[in-house]
């Protein structure tokens, strides 16, 4: 089974975010980046499927030079090959533009299964996987917790709302968007990191960005929905103030 995992590199969760001078995106200068968390779960699922069923795991990521660090890490964890889609202009592409670029890059690979995270930690649109499946003309399922290979194709466990789940069966080739938490993430071993150096990273030049269907006009800090009273002091002083609030304002003590 050939599995392709599409991953994205996003700012670290703890990163201090500043709006860029033009107000259209964030200041990227001092940011550190990491793999998008749901994509890390997609990679983990792919590696486990390979361990069970054999085959190959190819990891693909679009972005500037910095994304090669995320690809190297995926190789160190056990992916067999990597594809770097060279694109410095992700901001100039909407979901459809990004999915088209991915479709172009993976078409020649004809994978049996494409996995990606259910959404990105930065834009959070949660659509790239579904749109990619639509462009490739293959079936998809979203918010997947477990994947099983069957004689006919796949049986997946899909998360529904309010603690409900559902199994869905589908033929190959297919695309799944993976939910966080289905597996335990592995760390790269020292051996893995060594091996990664001998693995191939192919580069793919993205075609120029086309016209966008939607555009992100500006970003800004959200307005407060409530007036928050901030409590300050030493931990003991803060605790005392909180107890006052619990007694007299919230009235739960």
């Amino acid at each position: 089974m050939k599995i392709l995992v599409a991953v994205k590199q996003v700012p670290e969760r703890d990163a201090q975010i500043h709006v860029a001078a033009d107000g259209k995106w964030i200041d990227e200068d001092d940011l550190s980046y990491t793999i998008n968390e749901p994509d890390a779960y997609a990679l983990e699922e792919a590696l486990q499927l390979k361990e069970k069923n054999g085959g190959e795991v190819v990891v693909v990521c679009a972005g500037p030079e910095r994304v090669t660090s995320t690809l190297r890490e995926a190789l160190a964890k056990g992916a067999d090959r990597a594809i770097h889609i060279e694109a410095d202009d992700l901001g100039e592409r909407d979901t459809l533009g990004v999915a088209r670029m991915l479709a172009e890059a993976v078409k020649g690979e004809s994978p049996d299964l494409i996995l990606t995270g259910l959404q990105s930690d930065d834009l959070g649109l949660g659509q790239t996987g579904v749109v990619l499946a639509e462009l490739l003309g293959i079936p998809h399922a979203t918010i997947i917790m477990q994947v099983e290979k069957t004689d006919l194709g796949l049986r997946v466990k899909r998360e529904l709302e309010d603690g409900w789940f559902q199994h869905v069966e589908m033929p190959f080739p297919a695309l799944l968007t993976i939910q966080s938490g289905g597996n335990k993430l592995r760390y790269a071993t020292l051996m893995g990191i060594k091996k990664a150096k001998t693995k191939e990273t192919a580069t793919f030049s993205a075609s120029a960005a086309g016209a966008k269907a939607v555009s992100l006009e500006k970003v800004y800090l959200p307005e407060k929905q409530k007036r928050t009273e901030m409590l300050t002091g030493t931990p003991a002083e803060i605790a005392a103030k909180l107890v006052e609030k619990l007694k007299f304002d919230v009235r739960v003590l």
Binding site: P11, V131, G181, K212, V214, V219, P222, M230, P235, L242
Partner: protein
């Protein structure tokens, strides 16, 4: 038809609350862009009545009985092509997330997902969504021509009386759909195990997030919860890690709660978490990052090290109780 078409979601003949909120958003949008606000419902069996919309399109086909992305995309593509609405609105449910992006793709469009507000722009409406787990807001606008697809986040538009009022005229739409168009086979929905904790009735909830760092620190949070007579809950990552059972998760994929007090410790406040707890009467947030979005919904906030503050708070609560 120009105007707005709201695609409703029902389960066993009942509309969900988010669908009514989408209708509320639909009315707002129709007032901005002109035209009527109509609604469409798939496979309701004709039994469902909806008021307050200009027209209800009931899309009926036996292959729509069980939800599939292929089936829903195929019939909604036909309906949107027939009606030519300016805007197609959805509630941002898991089901919508599964098919609406593909539907938009068929029109060369991109779904503007998870919208929390809208306002007037220079050229048509602007849709507000959150980025980076709620740290930033972003204004989105459609730049292509053709139908604009939008999904709205739970709790963002207030449904007051939507769904009641004069019943809409029902127009039955019978789409063309063949079994071979549906490539996946959905199974019956199920629950893992009986729910043993009902957080929705807890008057006080202490909720923990990534900030607690490791599993060993759950005990310290349990002590605080015990002191307050509270239920312990968590944001998704804590349950993903198995530090607390999934049934203690608050948020869009967990339980929705509205306690007297929601004490959020080490929770940044991503939108998926906020939708599950913003109905709380009072919110207290303790977080090391002063920019954490949880403070936007907090009545009282503490910026600081939870490992120093929580033990002191537990002590103070126990002392106050005598």
């Amino acid at each position: 038809m120009s105007g707005v078409l709201v695609v409703l979601e029902q389960r066993e003949g009942e509309l969900n609350r988010m669908s009514l909120e989408a209708v509320a958003a639909g009315h707002l949008l129709a007032a901005k862009v002109g035209g009527e606000c109509s609604a469409a419902m798939l496979s309701s069996g004709g039994g469902l009545k909806v008021g307050g919309v200009a027209k209800l399109y009931s899309v009926e086909h036996e292959l729509l009985k069980d939800y599939t992305a292929d089936g829903y995309c195929a019939v909604l593509e036909q309906l949107v092509k027939k009606l030519e609405p300016g805007y197609v609105l959805f509630p941002h449910t898991y089901q919508v997330r599964d098919f609406a992006p593909a539907l938009a793709t068929r029109f060369g469009q991109v779904l503007i997902s998870d919208v929390v507000a809208m306002h007037d722009g220079d050229v048509g409406p602007v849709f507000v969504r959150q980025l980076l787990q709620g740290k930033l807001n972003a204004d989105y606008r459609q730049t292509a021509s053709g139908p604009c697809f939008v999904s709205v986040q739970a709790g963002s538009f207030r449904a007051e009386g939507e769904g009641s009022g004069a019943e809409a005229a029902v127009d039955v739409f019978v789409p063309e759909l063949k079994p071979e168009q549906i490539r996946s086979k959905p199974g019956e929905p199920f629950r893992e195990s009986a729910q043993t904790v009902d957080l929705s009735v807890a008057p006080v909830i202490v909720s923990v997030g990534r900030g607690i760092g490791e599993e060993g620190n759950i005990a310290m949070m349990q002590e605080l919860a015990d002191a307050l007579g509270a239920e312990l809950a968590a944001s998704r990552p804590i349950c993903d890690n198995g530090w607390l059972p999934m049934e203690r998760q608050v948020g869009s994929s967990g339980q929705t709660v509205s306690p007297k007090l929601y004490l959020a410790v080490g929770i940044s406040g991503a939108i998926q978490h906020l939708v599950g707890m913003k109905g709380s009467k009072a919110v207290i947030a303790i977080n090391k990052d002063e920019h954490a979005p949880i403070f936007e919904v907090a009545d009282f906030g503490v910026v600081g090290d939870l490992f120093e503050i929580v033990p002191e708070l537990t002590k103070a609560v126990l002392a106050a109780k005598g």
